[in-house]
């Protein structure tokens, strides 16, 4: 009996201190000077621009990584291509690598004297301190999620349904659309939700390549950091954090909902 209570209250207490208290604190600080102040803080042009930029990046990065993730998952599981084991391992790199290192390597590649940067610069393409750089960093860090969700499900469903569809006369695309995709759809949705959360919340890699100019190349997470750093605008920092936290909580709710559907 005692052991059970220790486990139960121990784990809940840990959750409360480590996870819940900080999030509650953010909400409390954002709203403690009234709704009006909160609204002013998040409707200021820099905050709006930061949110817009973050969403613009996510709305390109998420579909790209979703399409790549599904194709890559199918290639890893269904095709015995030499080197696929290597690809399978490399996909996990963004999980293992610190985002700061990712940002730094992108900086070295695309800086004016970098490997790609000098050529791109001569031809008038600007990567660093602009939208493309932020997008590249976000693509990198949010790459593994769809692949990681899709691969085990593809393994589990096996090839029999696809083979059955083939003997019934279905071509490769019909099999993908009518059999494979419906079978992995919840894994894809789950992967998309995780990719989205990562894309919106990315800070370290983006911080290095974006330049963080308010109203121009500043993302939501950077806005939070700069508002807080300046000290003068703590409410703005908390308000922006609330927006990010709300997105995260909605993501969690969506995931729980999807989990239920799957059962």
């Amino acid at each position: 009996m005692t052991a059970r209570y220790v486990v139960r209250f121990g784990s809940l207490g840990y959750l409360a201190v480590i996870l819940i208290a900080p999030v509650v604190l953010i909400f409390w600080r954002a709203f403690d000077q009234g709704l009006g102040t909160f609204w002013d803080a998040i409707s200021n042009p820099d905050a709006v621009h930061a949110l817009k930029l973050t969403l613009e990046v996510a709305l390109v990065a998420v579909p790209l990584n979703t399409i790549f993730g599904v194709l890559c998952g199918i290639a890893i599981v269904r095709h015995r291509i030499p080197g696929m084991g290597f690809v399978n391992a490399v996909v996990d790199l963004p999980m293992a690598l610190s985002p700061v290192v990712v940002g730094l390597s992108l900086y070295l590649l695309y800086a004016n004297d970098g490997w790609f940067g000098s050529w791109l610069n001569e031809h008038g393409f600007r990567i660093l301190f602009a939208y493309p750089g932020i997008l590249l960093a976000t693509l990198f860090v949010s790459l593994p999620f769809v692949v990681r969700e899709v691969v085990p499900v593809l393994r589990e469903i096996g090839t029999e349904q696809e083979e059955a569809a083939a003997t019934l006369g279905a071509g490769a695309f019909t099999i993908f659309r009518r059999i494979t995709l419906p079978a992995i759809q919840w894994a894809v949705v789950y992967g998309v939700v995780l990719t989205m959360a990562r894309a919106l919340g990315e800070f370290g890699a983006v911080a290095i390549v974006s330049g963080g100019l308010a109203g121009r190349t500043q993302t939501m997470t950077q806005y939070v950091q700069s508002a807080y750093e300046n000290g003068a605008n703590e409410t703005a920092a908390y308000a922006a954090s609330v927006v990010l936290a709300t997105i995260a909580i909605l993501t969690l709710v969506a995931m729980t909902f999807i989990g239920r559907r799957e059962d």
């Binding site: 059955a164 003997t167 019934l168 006369g169 009518r178």
Partner: protein, 317 residues
């Protein structure tokens, strides 16, 4: 011939799954591929369906060269051991799949699917999902789905392997009736010799990637080509170099010169059949199959000494 496979060889890495295998399957027949696991029977079926590509050899379906054809173009219906139902589709949608992807008119699809569901006795269950069906029902759904596009040949991979004994016997009877009605050339894979003997017009016995014998059931039982077929098809005792079917073991109370002494170790009564397990004086074990009446007339009990003789035995050179 509806199906001809000629000199098929297939390797998986170092494993030789099919070693120069040739078979001919007559149009309208029901043929069994019988063998132990790993004998290559399922691989041969998959090569015929186009689900595996042979390393060497040719496949002809209805007289047409099919060796290089994709499974989609072969006109075969395939039923998998674990049914491979499309889990996200209803029973009705599963059966209709082969027709909807061909964009057949809606009325035609509806008519054909309803007809097939009635044929496989799933008439009222069209709206259910495969997860809501029993194993036997799922298997019948898979069969209806395979039959929907009117295949020229029907290939069944261990169709009853995953079902419990009673359902299996029912489904066998049902498959036999279905085949009598439809006359579609059918090959089924099985490791169950009883199933092969009961259902098929012709049995192909396979072992270690090779064909051991092709014959109708009765001939296979009475005139096995070699020791493997003898021991794999039907029950058998091995005594020294000779093979004796248990129903060819004669038991007597007294020796008659050609008999050997044996002790009754166990008597098993299986309804109509009585099985008498014996140990010969030289320690060899064998068993005799008697009808219940024969066994009662003999009046033997466990521990008795009897004298045994083979009415009929077979030796292979």
């Amino acid at each position: 011939m509806a199906i001809t496979a000629r000199s098929i060889t297939k390797r998986f890495g170092d494993f030789l799954a099919l070693d120069d295998v040739s078979i001919d399957v007559e149009s309208g027949s029901l043929t069994a591929l019988l063998g132990p696991s790993g004998s290559g029977k399922s691989t041969l079926l998959r090569v015929i369906a186009g689900l595996e590509v042979a390393d060497a050899g040719d496949v002809f379906i209805s007289g047409k060269e099919a060796t290089a054809l994709a499974p989609q173009k072969r006109g075969v219906g395939f039923v998998f051991q674990h049914y491979a139902p499309f889990k996200h589709m209803t029973v009705w949608e599963n059966v209709a799949f082969g027709l909807t992807i061909r964009h057949r008119p809606k009325d035609e699809i509806r008519g054909r699917v309803d007809e097939l569901l009635a044929l496989v006795q799933l008439g009222g269950l069209g709206k259910r999902y495969p997860a809501q069906l029993s194993g036997g029902q799922r298997q019948r759904m898979a069969l209806a789905r395979a039959l929907a596009p009117e295949p020229e040949v029907l290939l069944l991979d261990e169709p009853f392997g995953a079902l419990d004994a009673r359902v299996r016997v029912e489904l066998r009877q049902w498959l036999l009736r279905l085949h009598d009605e439809m006359h579609v050339t059918t090959i089924f894979v099985t490791h169950d010799q009883e199933e092969a003997l009961e259902l098929s017009d012709s049995i192909v016995v396979m072992n270690r990637g090779r064909v051991e014998q092709v014959a109708p059931p009765r001939q296979l039982y009475d005139e096995p080509a070699n020791e493997f077929v003898m021991s794999f098809v039907g029950p058998v005792n091995k005594l020294d170099d000779a093979w004796v079917r248990p129903h060819d073991v004669e038991l007597r109370h007294d020796p008659n010169g050609t008999t050997r002494e044996a002790q009754v170790e166990r008597i098993v009564r299986l309804g109509f059949e009585t099985r008498i397990e014996l140990v010969r004086d030289d320690g060899e074990r064998l068993y005799a199959q008697l009808t219940r009446n024969e066994a009662e007339e003999l009046e033997i009990e466990r521990g008795d000494i009897v004298y045994v003789r083979a009415r009929k035995e077979k030796t292979f050179g």
